[in-house]
């Protein structure tokens, strides 16, 4: 038996309205303003750094910048072409070492790692490796290659130092990219008679290639901006790169060195170098953003 609906006692609708001057409302408004202020304050440094680098960098942005050697102190002409080339070489060496290394290690984690205690340890090691300060990667390459005389101060030593820093990023992004590939794809492949290595090399990896490339590009862009691991491994040079066993100049080290010299032309070159580094990072980040939007599966 449901009792018949009783006529409602008249409710004072005023109670249901939001009282904008109550303590709760004021607190809500104050906190919302505070959170927005935090957001703004976080964006200010980004905008400040970007505008300043763009303004200063573009003043010196011209063709000789990309084709000529840095001027000796006192002269104003010249460019940073050797440093751009040097960065490409050192980062190239780092990529040659870290990409196959990282991708294969990630294949192990993603494809054979389920329930394997070894995979847990390798993931842990990767995370610890990503926390290793960049300068320590430089110290490692110095101790391993420079001090022992294996390569001395050289592009290779710099590349090895950078590859240590690129590895965790490559492993992590490849691992994630492989795990996104649906299990059904592997089952279908195995069901058609493919063996493990065929499934992974011909089916799973190709499907994950776009995301892997994105990860590798990001890792390369980050590595190109690294300075600390290079200052005492690749050292510096004011000439064109003379081979992978010679000290070599790089954009980031050039920015560091020229930032603190008392000559105005060198400072301008430092800003131009910083602009190139920032442009590179900006473009790869935006491209990576756009690329990951399109999904294969």
């Amino acid at each position: 038996m449901i009792p018949a609906a009783q006529p409602q006692k008249s409710v004072d609708l005023g109670d249901l309205k939001i009282d904008h001057s109550s303590r709760r409302s004021l607190f809500t408004i104050a906190m919302t303003i505070l959170a927005s202020a935090c957001m703004l304050l976080t964006l200010i440094p980004l905008i400040a750094v970007l505008t300043y680098v763009f303004l200063q960098g573009f003043r010196r942005f011209n063709l000789p910048l990309l084709t000529q050697l840095p001027p000796p102190p006192g002269l104003t002409e010249g460019g940073i072409a050797n440093a751009i080339l040097g960065t490409l070489i050192v980062v190239g060496i780092a990529a040659i070492i870290s990409v196959p290394f990282g991708v294969l290690a990630a294949v192990f984690l993603a494809e054979f790692g389920k329930g394997n205690p070894l995979a847990r340890w390798v993931r842990f090691a990767t995370n610890v490796l990503s926390g290793v300060p960049s300068i320590v990667a430089g110290v490692f390459a110095y101790g391993l290659l420079v001090k022992t005389g294996l390569t001395g101060y050289s592009a290779i030593a710099g590349g090895v130092a950078l590859s240590v820093l690129m590895l965790p990023t490559i492993i992590r992004t490849t691992d994630e990219a492989l795990q996104i590939v649906p299990k059904e794809v592997r089952m279908a492949s195995v069901g058609l008679g493919a063996s493990n290595y065929q499934t992974i090399l011909k089916i799973v990896l190709p499907a994950a290639v776009p995301s892997i490339i994105t990860g590798v590009t990001l890792a390369i862009a980050r590595a190109a901006g690294e300075t600390a691991p290079l200052i005492f491994t690749a050292l510096n040079s004011s000439f064109w790169p003379g081979g992978v066993l010679e000290p070599i100049s790089s954009l980031s080290v050039l920015v560091y060195n020229f930032a603190t010299v008392p000559y105005e032309p060198q400072k301008q070159l430092a800003w131009a170098g910083a602009l190139i580094l920032v442009l590179m990072v900006l473009m790869t980040s935006i491209a990576a953003r756009l690329a990951t939007r399109q999904k294969t599966y």
Binding site: T42, F101, A105, V132, G143, F232
Partner: protein, 333 residues
């Protein structure tokens, strides 16, 4: 008839259809199994060498540091003389250890409230999702800008500003030991500010992730009980995501302690212990960046020893962070 032939075969034994239309199982050939085995061992080998790489980093640094460890022992950690002049060589890293810790902690003091505030802003629906996505991306960009660019910007933009602020602080609050010196430009304050900018995106990104990955039921239940938005944030969401936020802070601390270039360019590189945050200071990583290229013999060993101290410090912080972040992921799975 055919059904009788199809028995249960393990996944990796393929089946083929014979020309007669009958099913027959084809066992993997020895070569195929062999290639599979080789491929597995290859990937496993590369995976294991990540661990080997990590160990060899520790080993290379320790072995090279041995001469200094034997010469100075633990005194290295508590003395503050750094004298590479041969014959009177003495190395103590106390000012650098102090500088590393203080600059990182100051940076956290600035970046944690800002980062968590930003994370809350980005995980709530104050503005439409499309705008939030752009803002999240912009915060990510903050992490992508190279350290050396922050350093360059710090020298020419931030230091002139902090010099003014520092002068005011010194003149009005000079009796506090932290502001007891006249700012000369480079120093602990601008370095901590740049570090704060550099760790902001880490704190924001991980805190936002842990807030956004909370089950929506938590928020719905709280709002349903009559809590306001901020009541829900403070009493329900932040406590639930707390370990994620703490993990973010720990990761940021590790990053701040290891950060090199930006700090080297603006901290002043003075190997002295000074309580004043307006005075020049030094960190372990800036010490390494400054002296490694020209170092010889015992100085290299001393620098390696300093690097070892840095590795141990960041390792402890990062493993703690790893552990804490791991805890939350288990909680709401």
């Amino acid at each position: 008839m055919a059904l009788a032939v199809i028995k249960y075969y393990p996944l990796f034994r393929s089946m083929t259809v014979t020309p007669q239309g009958q099913y027959a199982s084809r066992l993997r050939s020895r070569t195929e199994k062999g290639i599979d085995g080789v491929f597995f061992s290859l990937t496993a080998g590369f995976a294991i060498s990540i661990g080997v790489l990590l160990l060899s980093i520790g080993l290379v640094v320790t072995i090279n540091a041995l001469p200094a460890i034997q010469a100075f022992g633990l005194k290295f950690l508590i003395t503050s003389e750094w004298n590479p002049v041969s014959g009177r060589e003495a190395y103590g890293a106390l000012p650098m250890i102090y500088g590393t810790l203080v600059s990182a902690i100051l940076a956290l003091l600035i970046a944690v409230p800002l980062g968590v505030g930003t994370a809350i802003f980005l995980s709530e629906n104050f503005i439409p999702l499309a705008f939030r996505t752009v803002l999240v991306f912009m915060v990510e960009l903050l992490a992508a800008i190279p350290s050396v660019v922050y350093g360059l910007w710090g020298i020419f933009v931030l230091i002139p500003i902090t010099k003014e602020i520092g002068r005011w602080l010194h003149n009005t609050l000079g009796w506090i030991p932290f502001f007891s010196t006249m700012p000369r430009g480079p120093g602990m304050l601008p370095a901590a500010l740049v570090l704060a900018i550099m760790i902001l995106p880490i704190i924001t990104a991980i805190s936002r992730d842990s807030l956004a990955s909370l089950p929506p039921e938590l928020r719905q239940a709280s709002l349903g009980l009559g809590a306001t938005r901020w009541g829900t944030i403070f009493r329900v969401l932040i406590p639930a995501a707390f370990s994620g936020i703490v993990g973010a802070v720990m990761l940021a601390l590790g990053r701040a302690m290891g950060e090199t270039m930006a700090v080297t360019m603006i901290i002043g590189n003075a190997n002295q212990l000074n309580l004043s945050i307006l005075a020049p200071a030094n960190t372990i990583s800036s010490l390494l960046a400054n002296q490694f290229a020209e170092a010889k013999d015992l100085q290299v060993a001393a620098l390696m020893y300093a690097a070892l101290v840095l590795v141990i410090m960041t390792l402890i912080v990062n493993i703690l962070a790893e552990y804490i972040v791991g805890q939350i992921q288990a909680k709401y799975d």
